[in-house]
């Protein structure tokens, strides 16, 4: 990725956050929580990549919801959220629609999350809109209780 920012002072994928979620009594899917690997928060419009895998299987984009500030965004709509701010002290919840959910036990959760650092242009670049990426990706074995 070349020059990138990544400030990991706490877990990106939060331990104990993996669980199935319910809708009208049925398991609709699973969810987990994510902290941003930086020292400050960012507008959601700076998110350039968001992808999830579970037990090494990529999750289709259409099944992912990025949940923050009481709202649930589909992946392709994140780029339009230039006034929706992700507070650095608040984890986002990622919901993956999967009727029936996940089995109890340990699961390998993979997250690809890359943002633009909107005040740090790439050094030496004369291109407009070219910023140092913030790499907030992670991969962890999380326990679903």
């Amino acid at each position: 990725m070349g020059l990138q920012m990544r400030i990991v002072l706490r877990d990106i994928l939060r331990k104990k956050s993996l669980k199935n979620y319910y809708l009208r009594g049925q398991v609709e899917g699973f969810q987990f929580e994510v902290f941003l690997a930086n020292y400050r928060g960012h507008f959601l419009s700076t998110m350039e990549q968001l992808a999830v895998s579970i037990d090494d299987q990529p999750v289709p984009k259409k099944d992912i919801l990025f949940c923050l500030n009481g709202k649930e965004f589909i992946v392709d709509d994140l780029k339009n959220q230039s006034n929706e701010f992700w507070n650095i002290a608040v984890p986002a919840t990622i919901k993956v629609r999967k009727p029936g959910g996940l089995e109890k036990g340990t699961h390998k959760v993979g997250l690809t999350l890359v943002l633009r650092n909107p005040y740090l242009p790439k050094p030496g670049s004369s291109e407009p809109h070219s910023y140092i990426p913030i790499n907030s990706s992670d991969e962890q074995f999380l326990e679903l209780g």
């Binding site: 020292y39 928060g41 650092n117 005040y119």
Partner: protein, 333 residues
């Protein structure tokens, strides 16, 4: 003679805040315990209602001020030119965002804003009337690898002088006066396994003024390891150092300086390991400066890297003690 007040930027407590050990209130209380009466707040880090300051948040800030006698004096703004997904903000949008920052600072009672260099000299001049109306001073941060004399900063100086406004200027980060490699890039690199001979070679290339591209090639040809290369990139970038601190440049811009970031990573035996505080503080002391130097601790990962065995509060305590000692010595002269 200058009127120097010492404060703390809450950014110093980044590790404790992000890991949930300190709330905002804890950060403010620590400032009081460390003996200062003013703090800087980085809005994108600790204002939950960002990009606005909610009445609820203001009430908290006022409550803490009442309880601890410490108040916000400076508002750290981020000039997020790249926040939209498809293009950079245009000048009018950057100006609007900065006007909002001025109103936020005013609401919090901060008299100073740290802005960043993506706000161009022309845009800085454009916001001067708003800065004047609210009596909030907006300063462009001078952060490594910039120094007061680099061409980017020269352009600001020219625009500021021409504008005649007393409400726009500079916020120098004292890290830009570093004369040695950062502790992370020397001791830290060695600890990770960097070859010392090669690391010293990298330091010497920087000292001899070899260009970044040429030095990179020389190091690669010599077979430098990744730890040396990583330190090398920092030494030519945001953690660079110079043989001589740019104090002449500082003297030239001092009429337009109303706030400093007292950057530090490690104070050991009464000295910052990379930044010559005695010389820098003497230059400030001999000016007409009136304002705060806020301690800005950036060694958030040094403890985890095994380079120090204490947290942010002790780090800031050492920094304030060093500054107070140096200022007392200057007073005696």
């Amino acid at each position: 003679m200058a009127d120097i007040k010492l404060g703390i930027t809450l950014y110093s407590f980044t590790y404790e805040y992000l890991t949930g050990q300190y709330s905002l209130e804890d950060c403010v209380r620590k400032c009081a315990e460390l003996g200062v009466d003013g703090y800087e707040i980085v809005a994108t880090q600790m204002v939950p209602s960002y990009p606005y300051v909610s009445d609820e948040f203001l009430a908290k800030v006022l409550e803490f001020e009442y309880k601890y006698g410490v108040r916000p004096v400076s508002y750290g703004a981020n000039t997020d030119r790249g926040k939209l997904f498809e293009r950079d903000l245009n000048d009018s949008e950057l100006v609007n965002d900065t006007i909002r920052d001025i109103q936020n600072a005013h609401k919090l009672g901060c008299k100073v804003i740290r802005a960043q260099y993506l706000l161009s000299p022309e845009n800085l001049v454009a916001i001067a009337p708003y800065a004047e109306e609210y009596d909030v001073k907006v300063g462009i941060e001078i952060h490594n690898p910039e120094t007061p004399s680099t061409p980017v900063m020269e352009r600001y100086l020219e625009a500021i002088e021409k504008s005649g406004s007393k409400h726009i200027g500079f916020v120098p980060d004292l890290g830009c006066f570093a004369t040695k490699p950062n502790i992370k890039n020397y001791e830290g690199a060695l600890k990770k396994g960097a070859n010392q001979e090669m690391l010293d070679y990298a330091v010497n290339l920087k000292r001899q003024g070899v260009s970044r591209g040429e030095a990179e090639q020389l190091l690669k040809d010599a077979g430098a390891d990744p730890f040396v290369m990583s330190a090398f990139y920092d030494m030519y970038g945001y953690l660079t150092f110079h043989n001589e601190p740019d104090l002449e440049g500082l003297k030239r811009i001092m009429p337009y300086v109303f706030h400093f970031h007292g950057k530090f990573h490690c104070v050991r035996d009464g000295e910052e390991t990379a930044i010559p505080y005695p010389e820098v503080l003497a230059a400030i002391y001999d000016s007409d400066f009136s304002g705060y130097i806020v301690s800005e601790y950036e060694g958030h990962s040094l403890r985890a890297d095994g380079l120090i065995d204490y947290g942010a509060v002790e780090a800031v305590r050492r920094h304030l003690e060093m500054e107070n000692r140096i200022l007392a010595e200057l007073e005696k002269k």
